[in-house]
């Protein structure tokens, strides 16, 4: 505090009583509010535990270590009926993350294309994009999930009449069956080659940007990157003598066994989530682009840039600043909407953990609490990442 010198003003201002001092006053009110919230929380907690104890309902988190006794449709980690409820939780969590990540990627791709198409000078393309947006964002998501599920399921043949694609992949109403790669010991070199390729692309990008800044010459970055990404691992494969073989799906009894399986529930949920969210993202993208002043396009035109370059180098970088915050909202919505999976039997966190595990253990309070905490954590992580990205993309003010 640099109080004015009392000598200059004659006498010091009278010190207010503690009750009237704004500092202590706000401290007091904030502390009171805090105490009220804590007491309310304690009251709810005590009330719940007291009621549960009185009715003899089991409580605590000990159940996570007990044997689950049920199976799941598909899992990213090893799981069977003798695994624990804790492992069942992990299976559900990973399935939720998988469907969210894939859908976010697809929704962003589709959303950007549709959003840009909506502003196209081609009447037909612009109108088609408008129809897409208006239809998809105005039908409840749950109905769209059912539509995709049964639209995917009904027309497909049963396993014994599977659609055969060159004896490599098979489609039937149980899913899409693909060969899965089985890696030998030397396959680690292919992975190393891939990492080297990615690192090389990162440095190449920086070098190309500096070169363009300094000399104005452009470098065919895209083609070189694709070449590196495919070429280096391929080279590693040839040098190590193809240490990879494929496990083929084989029709045996009721269905195919071996290989990779993409279950129809996953396909339907991914389609529904990504096409639905894409409609919202498209509008976000359109708003972002329209927020860039028209003068920017005209100036770029005047410089003689081609329309593709204008879009990629002039418009989108400026539009991104407007796009990212509402885009974050859409990513969060998509992740939370993935919990509708339970309706079509996709084994996500809600179906397995807040569904089957809750039913088998009856510990609703603990399980719903954990489930809510997990969704909160996922959403906060996405928001954190997008905020970091937003900061990077923000206009550097001089």
């Amino acid at each position: 505090m640099n109080n004015p010198d009392p000598a200059l003003f004659g006498s010091a201002p009278p010190k207010p009583s503690i009750w009237n001092d704004p500092f202590y006053r706000s401290l007091f009110f904030q502390f009171s509010a805090f105490v009220v919230v804590v007491l309310l929380g304690k009251y709810l907690f005590d009330n719940t535990t007291e009621n549960m104890a009185r009715q003899g309902i089991a409580s605590g988190f000990g159940f996570m270590g007990s044997v689950s006794g049920f199976d799941v449709t598909s899992s990213l980690v090893e799981y069977n009926a003798s695994s624990t409820y804790g492992q069942a939780f992990l299976v559900g969590l990973l399935n939720t993350l998988l469907v969210s990540a894939v859908s976010i990627f697809l929704a962003t791709m589709i959303g950007f294309v549709i959003g840009i198409a909506r502003l196209s000078s081609n009447w037909l393309i612009a109108k088609m994009a408008t129809v897409y947006i208006e239809v998809l964002r105005n039908i409840p998501l749950l109905l769209q999930i059912f539509f995709w599920y049964f639209a995917v399921l009904r027309p497909l043949p049963s396993p014994r009449q599977s659609l055969d694609m060159f004896d490599i992949a098979f489609i039937n109403n149980r899913g899409l069956y693909l060969p899965s790669p089985v890696f030998g010991d030397l396959a680690i070199w292919v992975l190393i080659a891939l990492v080297v390729a990615i690192v090389a692309i990162v440095f190449l990008t920086r070098w190309a940007k500096r070169k363009q800044d300094e000399t104005g010459e452009t470098f065919p970055l895209f083609l070189t990157s694709v070449g590196l990404l495919i070429g280096l691992p391929l080279l590693a494969l040839v040098v190590t003598g193809f240490p990879v073989h494929w496990e083929m799906p084989v029709l045996q009894g009721f269905n195919f066994r071996g290989g990779l399986t993409l279950i129809p529930e996953f396909v339907a949920l991914t389609l529904a989530l990504s096409t639905y969210t894409a409609a919202f993202i498209a509008e976000v993208v359109r708003a972002g682009i329209q927020a860039v002043p028209k003068g920017q396009t005209e100036a770029a035109n005047a410089l003689g840039l081609r329309s593709g370059v204008i879009l990629r180098q002039v418009i989108i970088p400026q539009a991104m600043r407007v796009i990212i915050p509402p885009l974050t909202n859409q990513y969060l919505n998509l992740t939370k909407n993935s919990s509708l999976a339970a309706a079509i039997a996709y084994p996500d966190l809600v179906l397995i953990f807040a569904g089957t595990v809750l039913m088998q253990t009856g510990q609703a309070v603990e399980i719903i609490f954990i489930t809510m905490a997990v969704y909160l954590l996922i959403s906060l992580s996405i928001a954190l990442f997008m905020n970091w990205y937003n900061k990077r993309m923000m206009l550097v003010e001089r």
Binding site: A58, G69, A81, N255, P264, G355, L358, M359, Q360, G362
Partner: protein, 339 residues
């Protein structure tokens, strides 16, 4: 310092006061509000299902109606809450419903750590498998590698896991939250097999596009005693529901039906007199009127009438009495003596 006073009051409240989810005396609560809140399924023909006019019917519904007849003397004093398998126990624990009568299997875990009490069994069932006839499967032992559709949060999920493991077979479970979606997915060919209680298979098959294209395999892989459930900690209410079930079976055993119950009032048989409240005070011991069984039989019917009306051979479900016959006719229905 009004603010401090109210803050202190709140602190005391938070530290000491406990709001009870439901007071221990369910009978008093029920009498006060004038009806019984009964948790039922979201639609299982024969057990609890709304008809064209929106009236709930089925043998599970009859349990609630019988309790209402015993308590109020009027079987219609019931309100129904349709519940999914997933939320049914929470609804009962939290006091949202007074009885859960929703084809619920009696197991040790549910009877203990869920804080519930089973009041008896109104249908002895077992889990079965249904397959499309065109699959050509004759036994559950041939189901290695099959995809199996079923409901979320049921004993069914655990039983099939046990069965397939015990027979060293692999399978893919496809688990839905609602019964209607299980039927739709099975009908669309997502699964080779649909599994649930045998009575459930008979009921759900009616919802399929072509009910005759499916067959139920001979194996019964589990015991599924279905019955009404109440909360822990209210013995009087448990007694009322338990003895209502016994009364319906006892009435059948003594040949008292909704048609002849008025004639039976003039019966000389002491057991019948006791049952119908002409003599003795059986009802008062439960805290009810002595005419309670008369009201149950007159308005709802005995157990056999209820069975025949909703799930018996002359209904679309076409279920025979089997193990649900009276004990003296080779079944398991054995009412404890009402005396």
């Amino acid at each position: 310092m009004k603010f401090f006073n109210s803050l202190a009051a709140l602190a005391v409240l938070g530290a000491t006061a406990v709001v009870h989810v439901a007071s221990a005396a369910t009978l008093d609560d029920v009498m006060k509000k004038g009806f019984i809140q009964c948790g039922v399924s979201q639609g299982l023909p024969g057990f609890s299902n709304p008809d064209e006019k929106g009236n709930w019917t089925g043998i599970d519904i009859d349990v609630c109606r019988a309790v209402a007849a015993a308590v109020f003397g009027d079987a219609n004093q019931v309100k129904y809450t349709p519940l999914s398998a997933k939320v049914r126990f929470t609804a009962l624990q939290s006091g949202e419903i007074d009885i859960l009568s929703r084809n619920t299997t009696w197991t040790l875990t549910r009877d203990t750590s869920l804080g519930l009490n089973f009041a008896g069994v109104n249908y002895y069932d077992g889990q079965g498998f249904m397959v499309p006839k065109k699959l050509g499967v004759k036994s559950a032992k041939e189901l290695d590698g099959a995809a199996v559709c079923t409901n979320l949060g049921t004993t069914t999920e655990l039983n099939m896991s046990d069965y397939f493991a015990a027979n060293k077979m692999k399978y893919t479970p496809v688990v839905f939250e609602k019964a209607d979606e299980v039927v739709a997915a099975y009908d669309a060919g997502r699964c080779d097999v649909y599994t649930t209680d045998r009575s459930g298979l008979a009921a759900q098959r009616l919802k399929m596009k072509d009910p005759d294209a499916h067959t139920v395999l001979p194996e019964t892989i589990s015991k599924e005693p279905l019955g009404p459930v109440v909360r822990h900690g209210d013995d009087q209410w448990l007694d009322i529901v338990k003895w209502t079930l016994f009364a319906m079976v006892e009435a059948e055993e003594q040949g008292i039906t909704s048609k002849n119950v008025d004639d039976k009032l003039k019966s000389d048989n002491p057991a019948t007199k006791r049952l119908l409240g002409v003599e003795g005070d059986m009802g008062e011991k439960l805290g009810l009127s002595n005419k309670w069984i008369y009201n149950i039989v007159k308005q709802v019917g005995n157990y056999g009438e209820s069975f025949d009306k909703h799930v018996g051979p002359n209904t679309p479900l076409k279920l025979t009495r089997g193990v649900n016959a009276l004990w003296n006719k080779g079944g398991l229905m054995y009412p404890m003596p009402i005396r």
